[in-house]
Subunit: 352 residues, 4 copies
């Protein structure tokens, strides 16, 4: 009963096979292998962005921190949702990479930022006042930490607010594939056409071993980004093992297929959880995560039976009265089992 | 009609005289002048803290940022009031000196933090979770940005919360003298006896030219602080001009006399403002600042007549209907004139 | 004819198989997988260091920069060989991770530092003088950038110098296995018993895909190192793919077998190069690299025939008279072919 | 007998008087006082640079570090003389302000860099190689740490080298006035006309209390520099005390008169030292410093008699045989006494 995270799953067979193939023979190091040329072409085609530059790194924290540092000066304010990964789950990586910077958390229901709230938050940082940090950039997460999804129109509305303040916009797309599947939007519509300047394109959580891509839609800052990546220890010598993963990931829509599988499992899981006595779905289920409020007794039964998932926020207290509600997060992956969902329902209903 | 800030005032005559005296002859540089020995002794005596180490810098931003960087690691969360100078008025100096760090703003009425709110804020940063920044330190401001004052007991209660989480506590005492005069508390009771580990002892705003002191109550980190000061460009070569100011400042209670004068003028000003038609005092007046809500028309009259003070927050809009209320901050200094107060009343009442 | 670097080779079959096995099923993320327990035990056993802590990262630059940042304050001087990877090949990663720091390059024949030169270099940084950076730490590379090897006694002599100045010592062991095979020394004798505090244990260059380990012999700084790793984006979510590599790498002496194969090929290559007309071996060949001075004409023939290796330093000019000597670096890997050596000889002799 | 440094002297009477005048009444804070307008005009006129921007800070370390950080990215190499203040006397301030950076020390006789050596040093940092730090900027010191002086032509030749590599050039002019007096060059010829982009204009050592100016000849980076100054704690609230000093300093050539007095005293001192038995002048005396090699016995006599000066480098050993030579640095200030020179001669000759 594995619902702890999409990073407890392994890699998809196609990814492992690509890795095996990439291992044959010798190859130039540091991204000069031929596969990286193919990856670049593939990303440009996938995103309909012929000038985009692509940088492979090992994970989403790095993709986010590098993206932000490339656009935001050390004295910049970074506007993000108050539950964004960059704000609560990266041990200050953005501040480290930026050499300063101040995250300005914006509240918002169901993990999403409302354009008016974003405008208000930006306006609280006075413009051109040397005593204050300066407005730096905006970062949006899609799919969000609450498992909800922005449509391209919603992204565009937020980018328009940012543009009104002359701010660049980053998208944390650790679960971008899940958002694309959920909305049916094209990669281009969801990103640069809506106003996104730089994207963390997630792959690790969605069936790869360890690779995410930074997609820089305007290539002007490419060399700076390359230096920042190297200096942070994120330029891999045997880079072919990164490019092999991304190449397979984007080929024949594998990334969307994997995300669709995860989203579909989440639909099934949502049905199960919603029907439990005393349970309630907390955020609209739109991608591969389900947040449910459960009686603590239900939760305890699942834990005793060895189910894996987190209370949310994950430092929530485990102690308390049995009839009190707790909120739990359940994440589905490309290879989540139907059997695990059935088993979870059984133990939660005390039929285990 | 000068009420813009306590830093628009000049230096007190005693300070200027001390500066002239200090200029005679040659003196060792970089704090090895004899006057620094006397300053050290004076601070220790004033604070009843025989082991305290003292570091002179040119202003409060530096004193704060050095203090915080000495106690908080780059991945630390720094808990402060949401309107604290370190959070809103230092262009990210704490984050720069810390090489990262994340300010966690705590709300609180009238510029003060409630111990329960502090505990709650600290608890939101999960302990020992590598994905999160770590609980780093607490910083309190006394007198506060809202012109209110913590009593020693209130400081002690907040330090106790911090201590419960094993966190060190810094006090931004840019207006400490005003707080001491307001409460009648001793410097020791207001600081280390209440649990403060390191203090920014303000002097610039209160009648000096450019000097504040960092008082480190536990000398263990003295050498690190000295290196940080030098590395940040804050070790003065002709250091005697800093020590001369602080020596005069602390001699014969000059600092308290200056603060008392400022606080007293604020009492008078409060009376005037409170009595204006449509006006309302916004925060309890306890030190040398008065925050008043005024009809915009009243404010416009004062501005037209050349009065100096800021709307608050200072990026508040100047435009709007005449009968709408605006909030303004008025600051009194050691040398604020009665005549200015009389003149302000007159123009605000339209009698100018 | 592939001699460009040990990172143009792929991963050994045992490593790939371990990766495939690790991919089965679900596993806790972020290093909490069971394999990491086994890795920890294996490293401790291999190094006879039961208290050592182990941190897996993706490459040597990261291992080095994290190690240095954990021991050296931002105002510290880092003493290293003038050709050390940390000094010339990491785009300032140590300075980034340290948030400052100053590399102090120490000259030395054949890539090695002489204890007297080290002592002299350390002594040039004045102790306890606030105007200077402070003596921070020493970092040694074994095998060196010049393909030479320190014996345990030589390492111990250098560590003794460092200890005399109370400085911790890091070893960049990107090619540690090659050095161990070359000297026959035990891992413990080459590291902590000789005085090394923290080790970058290389694996990527020697038959892995992308993994190096930081071995911290004194566990006191373990938590700090863990936070630094996370904050730099180097804590992998699907960490099992790192632990799988290292587990296989250290099992049944695979790492030594791979290094031995590389060193042996270098012996053969050295013989070939030394016998070329006009050629000369530049540094004693002790590990898996050969540095040879060649007539430029010889070099041009090899390049035309598609041989892969670098002139050294790698920004050396490619232009110049045919009879002028150039210095070239040839690196052997675990899977370097005899056939490639034969082919190289042929083309260099103009028999291709 | 005070020859320890030009920062053991006090401030000139004209500076103190300006300070007293500046103290009258209220004035806007943070550089918005009217005097700063006058300072800006004065600097522009003095340097014949109508677009130059001027930033006042408290000392030379800050002026240098801010200048460098404004032009050099975190991954930049900073080329400087191996004895430059930025390299050996600022506790890593440039690296701190730059958030990284790597000082590349260039050797050179008598504190000066030869254009060919500069070109060679720059060329050792490979261009466009992501593994290396990148060529960042050049910083020159005039007068130098060895008391020698570059002519405008020499500065121009070095700037031409830098320009050939597309690198900006900073001048550390902590003793610029001494260099101008020594050469008779105009401020413009010595700086921007020769190719200097940004200047640390020293004043503290030459008769002020605590103020240096950053002069930015190309105003494009002015706002960034302003933010960096604030963020580093170097924007003074009672800024009028800085502008008052610089205004007086540059008025009626006071700065040149003070420097001329210091240089003249150094001429006299040089004569005395050169004539001592066993003594030798080590660097050509061109500004206000004399470096002399003396028998240790001579040095000991002076120390016993209470003379103040430093052996150089200042961590040189005080112990050793009496007939061994030591090198000492003697610095003259605007107010160095003839009587002190006479007294020094007497004690050194054993006539005290």
């Amino acid at each position: 009963m594995e619902f702890a995270s999409d990073n407890t799953s392994g890699a998809a067979p196609q990814i492992m096979q690509a890795l095996m193939r990439a291992n044959e023979g010798f190859a130039p190091a540091y991204g000069r292998e031929q596969a990286m040329e193919r990856v670049r072409a593939l990303v440009r085609e996938t995103f309909e962005a012929p000038r985009a530059e692509v940088f492979l790194v090992a994970n989403g924290t790095t993709a986010n921190a590098l993206s932000i540092a490339t656009f935001c000066p050390p004295w910049g304010a970074i506007f993000c949702h108050e539950q964004a990964h960059v704000q609560v789950d990266e041990c200050g990586a953005p501040e480290f990479f930026v050499s300063g910077g101040k995250m300005v958390p914006v509240p918002g229901a169901h993990g999403k930022i409302d354009p008016d709230d974003l405008a208000r938050a930006i306006a609280t940082v006075p413009q051109g006042d040397v005593h204050s940090v300066q407005r730096g950039m905006v970062t949006l997460t899609n799919a969000t930490e609450a498992g909800t999804v922005y449509s391209p129109d919603e992204i565009a509305a937020l980018c328009e607010v940012a543009r009104g303040f002359c701010l660049p916009v980053h998208m944390d797309g650790a679960r971008l594939a899940n958002a694309l599947v959920a909305t049916g939007a094209s990669p281009a519509d969801m990103t640069w056409r809506a106003g996104i300047d730089i994207l963390s394109l997630g792959a690790t959580k969605n069936g790869c071993l360890a690779v995410d891509a930074v997609v820089l839609f305007d290539p002007e800052k490419a060399w700076e980004l390359e230096l920042r990546r190297k200096r942070a220890g994120h330029l891999f010598s045997k880079h072919r093992f990164l490019s092999a993963q991304i190449e397979a990931y984007l080929t024949d829509d594998l990334w969307l297929d994997l995300a669709r599988a995860a989203n579909d499992r989440a639909v099934a899981l949502e049905g199960v959880l919603a029907a439990l006595p005393g349970a309630r779905i907390v955020h609209p289920r739109q991608a591969n995560m389900v947040f449910a409020s459960l009686p603590r007794a239900t939760h305890r039964r699942a834990m005793s039976a060895g189910a894996h998932y987190y209370l949310w926020p994950h430092w929530a207290s485990l102690e308390g009265p049995s009839d009190e509600a707790v909120t739990a997060r359940f994440v589905c992956s490309w290879n989540t089992n139907d059997a695990d969902i059935v088993a979870l329902e059984r133990v939660m209903r005390g039929q285990g």
